[in-house]
Amino acid sequence: MIELAVFLPLAGGLIAGIFGVRMGDRAAQLVTVIPMLIAAILSSYLLWHVGIQGNERTIELFTWIDSGTLELSWALRVDTLTAVMMFVVNVVSSMVHVYSVGYMSHDPHKPRFMAYLSLFTFFMLALVTADNFVQMFFGWEGVGLMSYLLIGFWSGRPSANAAAIKAFVVNRVGDFGFMLGIFGVFFAFGTLDFDTVFAAVPEVAGRTFSFLSMELDIVTTLCFLLFIGAMGKSAQIGLHTWLPDAMEGPTPVSALIHAATMVTAGVFMVVRLSPMFEFAPIALTFIVFIGGSTAFFAATIGLTQFDIKRVIAYSTCSQLGYMFFAVGVGAYPAAIFHLMTHAFFKALLFLGAGSVIHGMDDEQDMRKMGGLFSKMKVTASLMWIGSLALAGVPFFAGFWSKDVILESAFAAHTGMGLYAFWAGIAAALMTAFYSWRLLFLTFHGRTRADDHTFDHAHESPPVMILPLVVLALGAIFSGWLAADYFVGHHLDEFWRSSILMTHNIIEEAHHVPKWVKFLPIVVGAVGIVLAWVMYIAKPGWPAKFVAMVRPIHSFVFNKWFFDELYDRIFVRPSFVLGRGLWKSGDGAVIDGVGPDGIAAAAKDIAGRASRMQSGFVYHYAFAMLIGLVLLASWFLFGFFG
């Protein structure tokens, strides 16, 4: 059953990818959607079977690499953590598959799109079921590749191609750290198998190694390197620049890959490796800092953007920050909890945004929307549900998971924990504000769309609405249903050995002062009210406010100038260097001396050799005799010498 849940998407993707053009659009959709739905049902059962009933297991499929001391198997390791991830991945992916049937109905390359989605799902499953570093890296790179292909799916657009390349390159930076981490693990532990490594960590902890005459703690260094990989994949501050651009891809891709699943792979990785990170307190502190900063920084940018998808993209970035600082303070279950609830409501928001875009003739600018509530009531209601969950309004999914994260950060009682707590509170205020800003600008007030577009704005077909409803159910109930298991009284029985927590911070989080518990709700309400005032009651205020704080606004609006900075520091010098090496290094030196030079020399030798062939018999006879004499004398001298 586990095998089916993992390999059905692969089978569907391969069939649609190879035979897609011949079998036709409808068949390609069926052959990918049906296996995904089956896989989703199977993994829901698995969550109950493995998580609640406790039947965790590892299935060895075959020996993958056996070279010297490096021995790796291809295995499916299914414990509670994996079961949760498989559940999230398969359910969201199956909903996105169904949704794509409607969303991509006008696209000429439907089979290719469906095949990419299914293959992406397979790689993601390979990542979460890995029981060694290399298999995890296989899935890691696989999802990166599919992300690249899907961002650049509309390859006719230069901006899509640029975004795809950007995503790939920025991810390579993180992947490089991840790879170094893997090499380091093999160097330090002599194996890449999770269980063996985890068992050996307590022994290795505290040992050091020399690097450039610095004595570095082994486990801390490894955790830093691995976390750099996670930063790239999960778009944390510094390596986040690719995520907003990735919105160039079709909206279902944004929902599946750039909100619900792939970008959370970094969080998953750190949680999976919790037995290592628990022994690297410095690395954990760094994670808290990065997570808290990202949560705050991305939220500020979200306040100012006008592209509906970019707002949600920065929101994703910010929410990933929450997950990371939860991980950093040791509240791994809280991070995974938020990962799951976030997957539901963020996929819902993206797909809802897609529904709006679809109904508005591919318009993404919120300044050209407004008043759409009357036109698309279902979509608007579902977006409301998603926003309520995102803002942490009580009893929606986000409320349960976000609160426990903030409480854990407070309960950590470290300086960095408090920093993250206050950054998180500020981000929560901004989250509520930009969520309702989005809702008000899109669905309420007077419309700013031109008459033609507004008249043609329409509700999406049922095939797109139905997945939204399923996700909305998740956004409403998943927090309430799962809280007890994920972060409540059944925490220990639920997670068992899949997560290592050296001290139970979640328990402490339940005993923080009352004001800590209520603060997130209060700031959420403030944010919502503020948005109402600014965009419904007094629509003139935002412009005036922006005019008042113009420098700050332009700093934030330009995304803290990260792109410009990177362009100046990395991109342009690389181009200059590359062009220089190409023209003078490769063209002049290597080609000139190497291929061209050798080829010219070969032709020259060839010409000489064939000129010797004069056609005169006496020349030939002469050559023979000379050859004979030379051979004989060489021989004789050699003989005597």
Partner: protein
């Protein structure tokens, strides 16, 4: 020595000699009309001779007071060269008919040449070696000039004759030196003499160099190769095909036997000569071919290069080396016959075309021929899994075993250079604008041979094991 035993050892040769003379008589009485019949009779004679060779006595048999020897090595080489000769004869049939070469002597001369080659391969004495060598050479001189009315063909025959006479002189001189210093011409006697006396006299060494030079001429190794391009280009194409295959096998087999049997204990002495001519052949064969525009000339340099690779196996001087040589020669026969069959199919408006450029775009005008030629070219370049790869692989394996690293590295590098001109033909055929199409229907015989040799070249790896076993058994008798 019982005369019956002697006769039983030479049944195939005896049969061929008698059959050739009967064919000659028949032709002489019937005149030109007999050509077609005599050609097929020649093929039949060759096939029967091959069967007789295979049915010959098992194990090592010497006859005529040790002048003649039959062993596994001789059988392997004989079967191979008869196969090459028969295929070349079949190829010649449609060409000769069309080009109006109606001399019935052609197949008869081929049979005589093969007879001489078989005697070379079985020679166990310097004198029987020489007799066999001259029998084949005289036949070949005439065959090269078979188109008497064609200037190029006559020139080729004459050049070959003059230079061949020179090489024969060198060879004979070497033999006389050997005889003078060692006191015997028998291979067994020579081997015995050098086995006990590790310090061979200088005269023997010089004689050995002369013999090596004479034989190197026959396999067209550098610097005794100069006749090859001119003769290949000038001789009629089927004759070139024959030249490229049968005499090379015979001479190479003889070369191997002479070096390893009588002079086997002097390996250290002759190894450097072979090393040098092997190296020089590989280098010249690959470089000089680059600038050729005539495909027959190109094939001449290609065969020089191939002989260089084969000599790598001899330079190794071990059993693996000889095994590699026999394997190489086997593969070489099929690749070359196939290529020449393709060249024979290059006709436009009834005339032969020999320019490489004329192959441009062949894949569009004649995809089948282009595919076959591409297979042969890839194989000659040594691209796995085609046959040519295994040929090179085993000789280089032997060289590595013998510690000849320089030779191996240079050999590999020159095969890279060689790949250039082989692949250029493929590029011309597949990527260039089509030239005018060739004539259709080159002849049933040619199509069949192209198909058969092409399949053998492509799927050689399936039958690799038995050929290797045979070559191993054949190689074992020399050590």
């Amino acid at each position: 020595m019982n005369i019956a035993v002697d006769i039983s050892a030479i049944w195939p040769e005896l049969f061929m000699a008698v059959a050739a003379m009967v064919m000659l008589m028949y032709g002489a009485f019937r005149g030109e009309g007999a050509t077609r019949f005599v050609t097929w009779a020649g093929v039949l004679v060759l096939v029967v001779a091959a069967l007789l060779v295979l049915a010959g006595p098992a194990g090592k048999t010497t006859a005529f007071n040790g002048q003649f020897v039959v062993d596994a090595f001789a059988v392997f080489a004989k079967v191979l060269l008869i196969a090459g000769a028969a295929l070349a004869l079949i190829l010649a049939q449609p060409y000769n008919m069309r080009e109006d070469i109606k001399q019935f002597e052609y197949p008869i001369l081929i049979v005589f040449a093969v007879l001489g080659m078989m005697m070379m391969v079985s020679a166990n004495d310097l004198l029987s070696l020489y007799v066999g060598l001259e029998l084949q050479s005289l036949a070949l001189y005439v065959v090269a000039a078979i188109r008497r009315d064609n200037l190029r063909s006559s020139e080729a025959g004459l050049k070959y004759f003059v230079l061949g006479a020179l090489s024969s002189g060198i060879l004979l001189y070497g033999m006389s030196l050997i005889y003078g210093f060692a006191g015997t011409t028998s291979f067994d006697g020579l081997a015995a003499a050098f086995a006990t006396d590790s310090d061979a006299p200088v005269g023997v060494i010089v004689g050995l160099v002369f013999i090596a030079a004479g034989l190197a001429f026959k396999v067209s190794a550098v610097p005794f190769h100069m006749w090859t391009p001119d003769v290949y280009e000038g001789a009629p194409t089927p004759v070139t095909a024959f030249f490229a295959v049968a005499p090379k096998i015979a001479a190479m087999a003889l070369f191997v036997r002479v070096m390893l049997e009588p002079f086997g204990d002097l390996v250290a002495e002759w190894q450097q000569v072979i090393w040098f001519i092997s190296l020089a052949s590989m280098i010249l064969g690959s470089f000089a071919a680059i600038v050729q525009t005539n495909i027959k000339r190109l094939m001449a340099y290609s065969s020089i290069g191939h002989m260089g690779f084969v000599l790598v196996g001899l330079a190794a001087g071990n059993e693996t080396g000889v095994q590699g040589i026999l394997l190489y020669l086997t593969i070489y026969v099929f690749m070359n016959i196939g290529t020449f069959a393709c060249i024979l199919a290059m006709r436009r408006q009834g005339r032969m075309v020999e320019d490489i450029d004329q192959l441009a775009g062949l894949s569009k005008t004649n995809p089948y021929l282009a595919a076959a030629l591409a297979v042969f070219m890839f194989s000659m370049a040594g691209i796995p899994p085609l046959a040519g790869f295994f040929a090179k692989f085993y000789v280089f394996l032997a060289a590595i075993e013998a510690g000849l690293y320089v030779l191996t590295v240079v050999g590999l590098l020159t095969s890279v250079v060689g790949a250039y001109y082989y692949l250029r033909i493929v590029k011309l055929m597949y990527f260039d604008e089509p030239a005018e199409a060739f004539d259709r229907a080159p002849g049933r015989e040619i199509t069949v041979i192209v198909t058969v040799t092409g399949l053998i070249t492509m799927f050689f790896f399936i039958g690799l094991a038995p050929v290797l076993d045979g070559a191993e058994a054949a190689a074992a008798v020399l050590f």
